[in-house]
């Protein structure tokens, strides 16, 4: 992550914030970062059942410690009761998939029960498949999960494909794997060659 030209001796930090949702949380957090002399470079937030969570990357003066940043954000608006976690950004990823390993969407549909997510994700972990995004929704004890996954290698994707039927039987649920290209083709506007090339380039 590059430092802003205005900032000398800076470092990137990853900051996670959780709180009960209300207007003004993003404003409070980003204002605190700004007052610390920082700049937010990436941010993603979501709200679930009235709880807000956010993860952002900010470029801040290197002299600041994670504890100082945490304290400043948590005390920015005490009534918001922000729960903050700060880590220095490590530019060396722990998971580096092979270039040819595509991105897939694993859909799970069936009867919800305790431990189901743990069983599926353990299986994915044992196949060196990283979960990049996960959506779950439960309606009347029926659960739908959509995992955006990135296998370590084409081989681990092949293994998952071969395992899928047995795993679905074992867990008593419907499991299906869709390659990202298919979803991009059916859901996005643009020339297929360009969409697929972009996908492959990103992989």
């Amino acid at each position: 992550m590059n430092a802003s030209p205005a900032l000398n001796h800076t470092q990137d930090f990853i900051i996670a914030v959780m709180a009960q949702d209300r207007p003004g949380i993003v404003a409070a957090v980003t204002q605190a970062v700004f007052e610390l002399g920082g700049n937010v470079t990436e941010l993603s937030q979501t709200v679930m059942r009235g709880y807000f969570t956010l993860i952002l990357c900010a470029c801040l003066p290197a002299k600041l410690s994670p504890i100082e940043i945490q304290a400043r954000i948590e005390t920015a608006e005490p009534e918001m009761a922000l729960s903050v976690c700060v880590s220095p950004y490590n530019p060396h990823p722990l998971f580096v998939p092979e270039e040819a390993a595509g991105v897939y969407f694993l859909t799970v549909q069936g009867q919800d029960r305790p431990g189901l997510i743990a069983q599926i994700t353990s299986h994915l972990a044992s196949r060196a498949i990283n979960i990049e995004d996960l959506y779950t929704k439960t309606e009347e004890e029926k659960i739908t999960m959509i995992f955006q996954i990135h296998p370590q290698s084409p081989r681990s994707a092949e293994c998952l494909t071969l395992d899928l039927e047995a795993l679905a039987c074992e867990l008593g649920i419907d499991l299906h794997l869709l390659h990202q290209d298919i979803l991009r083709a059916t859901s996005e506007v643009g020339a297929i060659r360009r969409l697929v090339r972009r996908t492959q380039g990103r992989n």
Partner: protein, 454 residues
């Protein structure tokens, strides 16, 4: 990516029979012409082997990669009458056998292009090819033939229609033990497309490159379910709303064809040609154009309203598909092959769908009287009259029309013809005779006035 989009795409494959119906590699065999027939056949086989030997294996790899089924792998070659002239009908039968042999060797189920284009007149080679059709198609397993007998620019070659009709009768007799199945491999066209990937009418026509991969998608089940869901979700629906839904669904289905086509062409190192948007039914439940019409409110297929409903469907499919693909071609509309569509076959069996209504419906969809079983004792002239009617629809409306008529030996109206597999089964439909004198005049029906467009 939206969750709804992901689940909708999943449904297409899991519940709605969405697949790629065919990938068809078109290959020019013009450079295989020569005075030595054996050498020509050998050269044609070598060229096909060099370009197409990896078609099936790469297609299967792509299936494993994407999980999208590719149902059929096929070849379309330059019309045989163009490159195998001068060897007589027996020589052309040898060509058919050579094509059959190489198709079997590389594992494809049909090879199209045992064809002649005679809309304005026949060359010697064209006449020989038409004469060779009965023997060539009855003695080969995978070779498909077609004859283009009419075009909007040239008019309708009634002499050729008569010749093909006699060939059809002969072919039916030679395959009588299979209810005249040989005729299911022969299409008579008006305005034949040069890049149609669907059998039996595929050929690699004039103006095509050395080699091109064309794709035919399928999705009657997807379209039917989309309308079904829309009807369940919306209490007040207009036909415009339904047309919009079909358009959006056709877009998604066509994109699958475009994805598979571009990727497979790249793997094979050949140019990607076109996507044919046609909704191609199969005899399987949930994969029927007839079911779509029922979902549109035509409870009895063939009832008044059927043609309008089919027109809405075909137009919406074209509009959605055209935007989805870089290049649309082939037939691109909706197929109504009676024996291959269980609901249409049932409508024909119960008398709701007559031959005349089918003919009317073909004026607004992509093919014509397709896989229609007729009585075995129908005269060649009556068959020619039927074909001429269908050609007239194509010629006047500047569209492709085609006939795949099967005069089933020994069977009468109401009997059942069984072809098996994707070809399905259908009742034998009555044909009204009485117009034979017209075609017996012979000659060519001149091109319509609007052929003069320059």
């Amino acid at each position: 990516m939206r969750t709804e989009d992901i689940l909708a795409t999943l449904r297409m494959f899991r519940d709605e029979n969405c697949d790629v119906r065919t990938v068809t590699l078109g290959i020019s065999l013009l450079d295989c012409a020569g005075p030595n027939l054996d050498a020509s056949c050998r050269k044609a086989q070598e060229k096909i082997r060099s370009l197409a030997s990896r078609l099936v294996s790469e297609g299967r790899r792509l299936f494993h990669h994407y999980g999208i089924p590719i149902v059929n792998f096929r070849l379309a070659v330059t019309p045989v009458a163009w490159w195998a002239a001068g060897h007589g009908a027996p020589g052309l039968v040898r060509v058919a056998k050579a094509l059959d042999q190489i198709a079997k060797e590389i594992g494809i189920d049909f090879i199209g292009g045992f064809s002649a284009l005679v809309e304005k007149g026949e060359t010697c080679a064209d006449r020989e090819l038409i004469a060779a059709l009965p023997e060539a198609l009855s003695q080969t397993e995978r070779v498909c033939g077609s004859v283009n007998v009419a075009s909007s620019r040239a008019g309708i070659n009634v002499d050729a229609i008569l010749a093909v009709s006699f060939a059809l009768k002969d072919l039916a007799a030679r395959t009588a033990d299979r209810d005249g199945f040989g005729c299911a491999k022969l299409v008579v066209f008006a305005n034949v497309p040069d890049d149609n990937p669907f059998m039996a009418g595929a050929l690699h026509g004039a103006g095509e490159p050395e080699c091109a991969l064309n794709v035919g998608v399928s999705g009657p089940g997807v379209v039917k379910r989309a309308i079904e869901r829309l009807r369940a979700a919306e209490k007040r629906l207009s036909l415009g709303d339904i047309a919009e839904e079909i358009k959006c669904t056709a877009y998604r289905v066509t994109r699958i064809g475009e994805l598979i086509g571009t990727q497979l062409a790249e793997r094979l190192g050949v140019p990607f040609g076109i996507v044919d948007l046609s909704l191609a039914p199969t005899p399987a439940l949930g994969d029927s154009v007839g079911e779509i019409l029922q979902m549109l409110g035509i409870e009895q297929i063939g009832a008044a309203g059927s043609t309008a409903a089919l027109a809405l469907l075909t137009d919406a499919v074209k509009k959605g598909g055209a935007f989805a693909s870089s290049s649309v071609g082939g037939l691109s509309g909706a197929f109504i092959p009676v024996s291959e569509d269980a609901v249409l076959a049932e409508a024909a069996a119960c008398g709701s769908l007559s031959l005349e209504k089918l003919e009317a419906m073909t004026s607004v969809c992509s093919v014509g009287l397709d896989m229609v079983a007729i009585p075995g004792d129908t005269s060649a002239e009556t068959i020619a009259s039927l074909i001429a009617d269908e050609c007239a629809i194509g010629v006047i409306n500047h569209k492709t029309t085609a006939c795949r008529l099967i005069p089933v030996p020994g069977k009468r109206p109401g009997d059942r013809a069984v072809f098996g597999g994707l070809f399905g089964e259908a009742p034998v439909l009555a044909v009204r005779s009485g117009g034979e004198r017209f075609v017996r005049f012979g000659g060519r029906i001149p091109a319509p006035i609007h052929a003069l467009r320059n």
